[in-house]
């Protein structure tokens, strides 16, 4: 289930999310709009990937380790995540290629690759809710579908974007598309 909050640049999407995180209301906010039940566990297991991206200086293996992700998982991804991974690194199908990728420094990736790498990390981390800010940023339009398909593999996601993501979704998907300007203060009252 995706809750897509969209609006132009500077409309306050990231600020809204940061305020909700600060006040521990983000899951409550998600619950209120989507009717999803988190069983009262509001303060943890939220995987975030906000803009601007953090400036991490180290290699891929170190980066994944900090988020408790074993880098070997890159050899056993499902179809959607593998497509996303292939758009970041070259195809990883052998242990040798995995070792090369693992030892690559994060700052050597391009802006788009780094965005997708942080997105991949957020999707691989075990969490109840994932929050992704501008997932298509610096990426070619040709791979937007792959990015969206990868995000859909998560059961609960809040996606911030410039435009509504409705055009990517199928009829069967039960997603929510909310313009940030339509979010009233009432939504924050528990």
């Amino acid at each position: 289930m995706i809750l897509n909050i969209f609006g132009p640049s500077g409309s306050g999407k990231t600020t809204l999310i940061k305020d909700l995180l600060k006040s521990n209301n983000i899951k409550y906010f998600f619950e209120k709009i989507t009717k999803k039940d988190f069983n009262g566990q509001f303060n943890e297991n939220i995987s975030i990937s906000l803009m601007p991206l953090p400036l991490f200086r180290g290699d891929v293996k170190e980066f994944f380790y900090i988020f408790n992700i074993k880098v070997d998982i890159l050899l056993n991804l499902n179809y959607e995540l593998r497509n996303l991974s292939d758009s970041i690194f070259e195809k990883i199908d052998t242990q040798k290629k995995l070792e090369i990728v693992s030892s690559r420094n994060i700052e050597t990736f391009s802006a788009g690759e780094m965005r997708r790498l942080f997105l991949l990390k957020s999707l691989l981390v075990k969490s109840d809710l994932v929050i992704i800010d501008e997932p298509f940023s610096n990426s070619d339009k040709k791979i937007w579908n792959k990015i969206y398909s990868a995000i859909k593999t998560k059961s609960n996601a809040i996606v911030l974007s410039h435009q509504s993501l409705e055009k990517f979704s199928d009829e069967n998907e039960k997603n929510f598309y909310v313009n940030v300007s339509q979010i009233s203060d009432e939504i924050f009252i528990k």
Binding site: E44, I46, R57, I66, F67, N68
Partner: protein, 342 residues
């Protein structure tokens, strides 16, 4: 012109023979000029001179004070005693103020130079940034480490020890000359085994501190990088409420870093304790010489020697302590000398 060139080697040979400039001397001169440690010592010459002046004054004032001690031990009039005591106190107060002012100036000059060097470091880094654009991680970590750590270490573990050692050695030489005059060469011979033992021990400690110094620089670089990374991704881990791995990542660098600091302090303390113990033995031997009259010293000279020893022994302890501490600062001086390679 062509004929002149043909005779050039002979002319040069003649000049070399004439002025006795050997190739070895020339090489030695070039080596000294390029030596980074000598260059750095030369750059703090004002501090060395000022600090040493303080030691010179110390020696002279001690001589005046010992002269008063001499008068006190030989005189009998109570008026003379009062006058001599007042003069002695005045000398001590004068010495305290003068030495404080001179040393304050010496340290200020060192830190003024540090500020100038750090400004140059930043300036060089900015100017060369575009040329090193592909080597981001190493350059940035090295730059941060130099500014945050090496710059401080060089001052604390090289500049200040050098300044102190120079001046203390001047005092120590003066004091030793006075003691040799009082006790003769016998004192030196009796204390020679202690000096040899101290030399071997300080060599062992110096080697250890040098290795620690190199490791400390490497771990500081890694630690700065680690701190930066923690601050950058703390938000994401906070939302997940899973900090164990990030803490482990930080501890992997922080623990060895602090262990090295701990080792350095223990090793420096070990040297200080050993030097102090050696000083006690030296004083003991000197007292035995006085009491048993092995060196045939008069009462007045006894008082002088005690005055000299009271200043010489801490001076000696400090010198040895600072010389070994220097070893910890050598790697950081070497690193800073590579400023142009940022």
């Amino acid at each position: 012109m062509a004929i002149g060139r043909a005779y050039l080697p002979q002319i040069l040979y003649f000049i070399q023979r004439k002025f006795k400039i050997s190739l070895l001397m020339f090489k030695l001169f070039v080596y000294l000029k390029k030596n980074i440690f000598l260059n750095r010592i030369f750059s703090i010459k004002k501090s060395i001179i000022t600090y040493s002046l303080a030691s010179f004054f110390d020696i002279f004032i001690i001589l005046f004070i010992s002269d008063i001690f001499n008068k006190l031990t030989t005189g009998s009039s109570s008026t003379n005693i009062f006058y001599n005591v007042m003069v002695c106190m005045a000398f001590i107060a004068f010495r305290t103020i003068l030495v404080f002012l001179l040393r304050k100036y010496a340290f200020s000059r060192i830190f003024y130079k540090k500020i100038r060097d750090e400004k140059l470091l930043v300036d060089n880094f900015i100017k060369k940034r575009i040329n090193n654009i592909l080597n981001i991680e190493n350059d940035l970590n090295l730059f941060k480490e130099k500014l945050v750590n090496s710059s401080n270490l060089s001052v604390v573990n090289f500049d200040i020890p050098i300044v102190v050692v120079f001046s203390e050695l001047i005092f120590a030489i003066g004091g030793i000359i006075i003691l040799l005059k009082i006790f003769g060469l016998r004192l030196l011979l009796f204390n020679l085994p202690i000096f040899i033992l101290l030399l071997f021990f300080s060599k062992f400690v110096s080697k250890k501190l040098n290795i620690l110094g190199k490791n400390f620089l490497n771990y500081t670089e890694k630690r700065i990088n680690s701190i930066d990374n923690v601050s950058e991704i703390a938000l994401e881990l906070s939302a997940l409420n899973r900090t164990e791995n990030l803490l482990g990542y930080f501890q992997k660098v922080n623990e060895p870093f602090n262990k090295i600091l701990n080792e350095q302090i223990i090793t420096s303390n070990m040297m200080q304790i050993f030097t102090e113990s050696s000083s006690f033995i030296i004083i003991l031997i000197s007292l035995i010489c006085l009491v048993t009259n092995i060196t045939e010293t008069s009462l007045a000279n006894t008082a002088t020697s005690l005055a000299v020893l009271s200043r010489l022994v801490p001076s000696f302890t400090r010198s040895v302590s600072f010389i070994t501490q220097l070893q910890f600062g050598l790697p950081s001086v070497k690193r800073l000398s590579q400023m142009n390679k940022i």
